[in-house]
Symmetry: C2
Subunit: 333 residues, 2 copies
DNA sequence: CGTTTTTATGCAAACGGTTGCGCTATTTTA
DNA sequence: TAAAATAGCGCAACCGTTTGCATAAAAACG
């Protein structure tokens, strides 16, 4: 590979001149003719600045890392991670940064060696970390580094980006209530308390005893949605609507309800949560809550860039919104 | 951050001594007592070798890149990429490497600048590239770099890792044929010719006129599977089995067939392809073809590591295998 | 025309490691 | 006991950039 020395000597200038001209940042004035010569030499030799040398002197690598600690069965699914990741990647690339990904395993509070080296070896200009699970061991360690950091999700940190799950719950419930439903069953998830809180608050707003709503818990899967729906409707035949805490369970619910003779949405409405790509194409396109995942990457990167510039950006709470489709309808007379 | 000089002076040794002891590679002998002093100083100061400095002198960064050029609607889905990616990541981390991901956009043969810098700036020790789409602009460029490279998928390159799609097709068909089916409909995909070829060859082996099999083309989606299945069975009521070129279409097909009164697998067998996570939990768990995606990452990394050591590893063709579940059964009398 | 300012360029010191070679003691060998 | 081998350690060059400062030439100024 051609070095800047090669370029300089071919253009008959000093190394510093070549450097200043090629990294056209500096305000120094150079004769147009000199600039020309240098640039020409550079392209002729196919010169590419060596990144390590730059990093060494500038202290910047133009690499940022997305850290996704390994989840067990977190509410944060693989698909969601991928969506966020690709948002980050696109933005990174536009801004001239490169994206490194890391999924450290945390075993009984010990971080793996490779991960520690990555963080403290100066590889990185900044970090975006998924905080949908408990990442305290990592955060303890990170707090000793002075590395720009944005945390995604519920884990508490000064600079974060998270979704308003309470509003998410509220949106589902208010939608059904506004359609006139009062007999509403819940297909819930234990892991997402805020969402449940939102549901309950909306119910309370309409004068319903929030805690006495029929409720079954699922485990994220379609199958668990089927089971829960059947249980609910058998125990409470007068239900006219169901709130499912994610789309997969909602789809399972709809399928089972239709199998056992309940029309959706004519007889019973079902609202989901997450707005998966599939949900739009589902047999009965799902009314659901969209958390605008595709925007996360860009927003997180913006925060991180601001931090790296030394600013102090505001944290962001993303307001989810209702995606109105065909699985809900007004309550029967 | 403490530098090696700090460590050296605290341990009362020279920088070179400290370096050699801490990067315990060298065969040089040092007094046990000296080693002790140096290591102690190192931990006391929390010394972490600066990666850029190392990279500069050694020419190695211990970073490898996974390049996934943006697909349009390639047969290679997001989920599959993620699965492979996490395989690579896990292996990387175990081997002390870091993983950078890049999804360059290719517009009319022009590569984006950031991507070019990444590849030619010495950021990387090696590259794993997804070659399921046409990546010739990238490959033209890469061929001028002497960077260890492994290509995943069909794009031709000396060091590759790919799936035997022909055998994949063959497996589906042979399975049905072995179960006694002879009236078989195809829900196919245009993009995967090899798979079709395998299907036809298997048919031919059993003396069936391969080209006269009833066939509908889908577009990857569940919905298209539903449509295709209904069309096929209406036009050919005596079909006893269907081959779907992916699982999503297979699931659509099964759902529709059951809706219109055909029991699966009792009346009609359906075999899918890909073995998605969902396929196992589907109402009628899918008999399908598994391409062992979780192994790809490790295998690719092994090839790459060998290349980086200067060896010349063999390319790999992964043999898919049949995942036998409940959506297929012996043909009726 | 001498002096100051500006313009255009070069020198050399960093940045933080690694590594070839050389230098002492000390031990081994003949 | 002298010569040779070896153990243990340090000197200093080098990797490829960036950048503060110096310098020479040209321009502006009084």
């Amino acid at each position: 590979m051609a070095t800047i020395r090669d370029v300089a000597s071919r253009a008959n200038v000093s190394v510093s001149t070549a450097s200043r001209i090629l990294s056209n940042s500096s305000k120094e004035k150079y004769a147009a003719e000199t600039q020309e010569r240098v640039r020409e030499a550079s392209t002729e030799l196919g010169y590419r600045p060596n990144f390590a040398a730059r990093a060494l002197v500038s202290g910047k690598t133009r690499i940022i890392a997305a850290v996704f600690p390994r989840f067990h069965d977190s509410p944060f699914t693989a698909l969601a991670s991928l969506q966020i990741l690709s948002g980050i990647e696109a933005y990174c690339s536009d801004e001239g940064y490169h994206l490194l990904i890391s999924s450290p395993k945390i075993q009984d509070g010990r971080l793996d060696r490779n991960f520690v080296n990555l963080l403290s070896g100066g590889y990185l200009d900044g970090v975006i970390m998924d905080g949908h699970s408990d990442i305290s061991p990592i955060m303890d360690f990170m707090s000793r580094l002075e590395l720009p950091l944005v945390v995604l999700g519920t884990y508490p940190y000064q600079h974060h980006l998270r979704s308003d799950n309470q509003m998410g719950g509220r949106l589902m419930m208010e939608h059904l209530l506004a359609l006139g439903h009062r007999q509403i069953g819940l297909i819930a998830l234990r892991d997402i308390e805020a969402r449940m809180l939102g549901v309950r608050m909306a119910a309370a707003d309409y004068g319903l005893d929030a805690c006495s709503l029929p409720c079954e818990y699922g485990n994220f899967s379609e199958q668990s949605g089927e089971l829960a729906a059947e249980k609910l409707i058998r125990a409470n035949p007068d239900l006219t609507a169901m709130v499912a805490f994610n789309d997969r369970m909602a789809m399972g619910a709809i399928r089972r309800l239709q199998e056992i003779g309940y029309q959706v949405p004519e007889r019973i409405s079902v609202v989901g949560h997450d707005d998966l790509p599939r949900s739009r194409d589902f047999k009965t396109p799902l009314t659901t809550v969209n958390h605008r995942l595709s925007e996360w990457g860009g927003l997180a990167m913006n925060m991180l860039l601001a931090l790296m510039r030394g600013e102090c950006p505001e944290s962001i709470t993303i307001e989810p919104r209702l995606a109105l489709r065909q699985s809900t309808a007004v309550a029967l007379g």
